[in-house]
Symmetry: C2
Subunit: 373 residues, 2 copies
C-alpha cells in the first residue's frame, strides 16, 4: 500500500541551502574510489594544452603530418605520439580521475607503461609544481583510473602529462560532482622548441613528467615543446623544414645521438643556418651527445659516441669562432656522472640520468635564455 505524505513546499532560501549542503557533501574528499557516478568527466580537448608544436586536427598529436608529406615514415608515426603535451586546468576537486583511450597497447621493455601510455599529474603547491599521481594503463585500449584523492580543498592548478610513446585518441578528466574544472592557459611563458631523439621524447623516464623537457618547463616556467622522435632525429631537410615551421622563442637541438658521423657533418650546419635564417634574433642551442652508459664496456659503442661528438664539437667550434649570432653550444657528454648507473638499458637515461642531466643543463640553458626573455 502506497502512502502519500503531504510535504509543504520549501522556501527558495531552504532549497538553496539544501543544494549547497548537497554540493559540499558530494564534493568532499575521500572514499570515492568506487563511486564513479559521483565523478563528472570533461573532455580534455576543451582545455588548454601546453607543449604543442602546432594546432592539430587530433588535439593529442604534435604535428599534422599530412602537411609534411616528405617526412620519413618513422618520423610521421612518432609525431602522432603525445610526448610532452600537458593538459592545463584548475579545479577545486580533491580528487582527479581520468578516462583515456590509446591507439594500441604497446609495451616497450625499457620503459614503464605509466610513461609510454599512462598519465602523470602535477599540482601546484607552495608555489611549486609537485608530483600528484599517475594513471596506470591496463593492457587494453581504454582505461579509467583514479589518479589522486584526499587533496586539500580549494582551487588548485594542475598539469596532466600525456603518454610519451603512444597515440592518444581521447581523454576525459574527472572531478567530483559539484566541483569546478576550468581551462588554464598561461602556465608557461615563451616557447622553446626541443628537437631531439628518444631521450627528448622521454625514454626511459618512469613517468612522462620526468622527461627532461617537461622538467625544464616546470623549473624554468617556459614551455619546452617536445619534438623528440625516437631513433629518428637525423636532421633530414624535410624534418628541418617542419621544425623551422614551429613558432618558438628559442630552439634547442638535441639530435646528435641518432645521427651518423656523416649525417652530423653533412646536416648540422645546414640545420643551424636554416633556423637562424627563418628566426633571426632567436637563440639556437646545440647539444652534443650524452654518453651511452654501455659504451664504457662496449668499446665499439663508446667509440661511436666519441666520433659523433668529435664531429659535432668541430662544427660547433667553427660556428663559435665565427661569432655566429645567437648560436650556443653545450657540451653534455659528461652530464650523466661517472658511475655509469644513469641508464635503464644500453643508452636511455633512467630517472637518475634525467635528474643529473637537468641538474647540469638547466642553469646553462637558463643563462642563455635570460639574455633574450
Amino acid at each position: 500500500m502506497d502512502v502519500t505524505v503531504y510535504k509543504p513546499a520549501l522556501t527558495l532560501k531552504k532549497q538553496l541551502l539544501i543544494c549547497l549542503i548537497a554540493i559540499i557533501t558530494i564534493c568532499k574528499p575521500g572514499n570515492l574510489r568506487a563511486q564513479t557516478d559521483s565523478i563528472v568527466y570533461t573532455d580534455a580537448a576543451t582545455l588548454y594544452m601546453s607543449g604543442k608544436p602546432f594546432n592539430t586536427v587530433n588535439p593529442y598529436q604534435r604535428v599534422d603530418t599530412a602537411r609534411y608529406p616528405a617526412l620519413p615514415a618513422p618520423v610521421k608515426r612518432l609525431l602522432t605520439h603525445s610526448a610532452g603535451l600537458a593538459v592545463c586546468f584548475t579545479s577545486n576537486s580533491t580528487s582527479i580521475s581520468a578516462k583515456w583511450c590509446i591507439n594500441k597497447p604497446l609495451a616497450y621493455a625499457n620503459m614503464t607503461t605509466i610513461n609510454s601510455q599512462g598519465l602523470n599529474l602535477y599540482v601546484q603547491k607552495n608555489g611549486k609544481w609537485q608530483f600528484a599521481g599517475v594513471a596506470k594503463p591496463g593492457n587494453k585500449k581504454c582505461t579509467q583510473a583514479l589518479i589522486v584523492e584526499n587533496m586539500e580543498k580549494g582551487d588548485k592548478k594542475f598539469l596532466l602529462y600525456l603518454p610519451t610513446y603512444n597515440e592518444l585518441n581521447s581523454l576525459e578528466i574527472g572531478v567530483e560532482r559539484g566541483c569546478t574544472i576550468k581551462s588554464m592557459p598561461g602556465a608557461f611563458k615563451k616557447r622553446v622548441a626541443v628537437y631531439g631523439s628518444s631521450v627528448t621524447q622521454g625514454a626511459s623516464a618512469s613517468r612522462s613528467g620526468l622527461a627532461y623537457p617537461a622538467v625544464l618547463s616546470r623549473h624554468l616556467g617556459y614551455d619546452f615543446i617536445n619534438i623528440g622522435m625516437s631513433g629518428s632525429a637525423k636532421m633530414e631537410p624535410a624534418v628541418v623544414a617542419m621544425v623551422n615551421d614551429v613558432e618558438a622563442d628559442a630552439y634547442l637541438l638535441d639530435c646528435i645521438p641518432n645521427a651518423s658521423v656523416q649525417q652530423i657533418k653533412d646536416r648540422t650546419l645546414n640545420m643551424v643556418m636554416a633556423i637562424q635564417k627563418a628566426h633571426p634574433g632567436k637563440p639556437i642551442i646545440l647539444l652534443n651527445s650524452i654518453s651511452r652508459e654501455q659504451g664504457f664496456v662496449d668499446m665499439k659503442m663508446g667509440a661511436t659516441v666519441i666520433a659523433q661528438n668529435r664531429a659535432t664539437d668541430s662544427i660547433a667550434n667553427i660556428l663559435l669562432k665565427k661569432h655566429t649570432k645567437d648560436f650556443y653550444f653545450i657540451d653534455v657528454k659528461n652530464f650523466f656522472g661517472d658511475d655509469h648507473e644513469a641508464s635503464t638499458d644500453y643508452a636511455h637515461p633512467n630517472d637518475l640520468g634525467f635528474y643529473r642531466f637537468v641538474q647540469k643543463l638547466e642553469p646553462m640553458v637558463a643563462d642563455i635564455l635570460k639574455k633574450y626573455f
Copy 2:
C-alpha cells in the same frame, strides 16, 4: 669426378698453431649478434649464485616454501620470484648472451619488464662493479638475447642479476665459442638478510641491479640477501620463523611500509626479539618507512605513513632506551629528499629514489656492520 689430393700430415706444432688461430679468430669481439651458432651456452644452475636465503630445489627461487606451510599465500608466491639473485662467473668472452624462460609474462604498469622479467649484467672494471648491459624480455615465456659485445679481451668477473618480479624456470649464459666461463664464489663476504616490502624486492628500479639491496652489495662487498615481498611484509609469526631460519651475519628489517599501525605495535618487538634470541651477537637494524611521495598531496596517505612511523619510532626508542644489545634503528623517512620526484607511482622509488636512499643508508649501515665484520 672426385679428385683425391695427397696432403702430408701436419706436425704437432703446426696442428697446435692452427688450433690457436682458430680459437683467436672465433673468440674475437664484434659482429656476433646474428651468429648464434658461435655462442656456447652454459646452464647457470652450475654456477655460483649470490643473494640466496637458502639452498632450494629450483635454484632460481629464494625459499622452498613447501618447508613453510604456514606462510601466507602471497608470501609463498612472491618467494618464488628470483629477486636479488645474481649468477657470479668469470669469462674471457668479449660478448655475453642469455637464453631464459620465465613462468608467465606479466607486465606491471609501474616497472619495466627489463626489471621484472629481464636480466641485468655487471662487470668488474677498474676494481669496481660497472653496468654492462641488460637482456630485454619479449612478451613470451622464453627469450634469447645478446647482453653486451665488444668488451675488452681477457678474464673478467661478472654478476648477472635475475628477474625481480617473476619466477625464473631456466637460464643459460652464452659466451663465444672457445672462451671460458667459470663459477665465481666469493664475490661477497658476509651475509646481510634484508626482510622488506616491494621496495626491497625491487619496485620500481628500472633494472634489477638498481634495487637497493643489490646496490649495497656491490658498494659494500657484503651479500645483501633480498627477502622482499611486495605488499606482504607484515611480520606474521610464520614469516618471522622463516626469516629467522636464514643464516646471516646481520639482519636488516625494512618491513614497516606494508604493516598497519596495529601490526607494527603488535609484531615489531616480537620480530626483533625472535631474531635476537636465535642469532645472539648479530646486529639487527630496523628501518622505519620511507615517505610515500604522493602523501605530500594525498593527505590521508601522508597521515598513514606518519602514523606508521610514530608507532615504529616509539618501539625503536623503547629498545634503544633499554640499550638492547645489537639493536640499531635508522630513521629513513626523509631519505627521498624534498622535491617529491623520487617515485614512479604513488610510492615506489624510481632510480632517483633508490639512488638517494642508498646515498643516505649506505654509510649508516656500513658504520654499524664494521663493528661486527
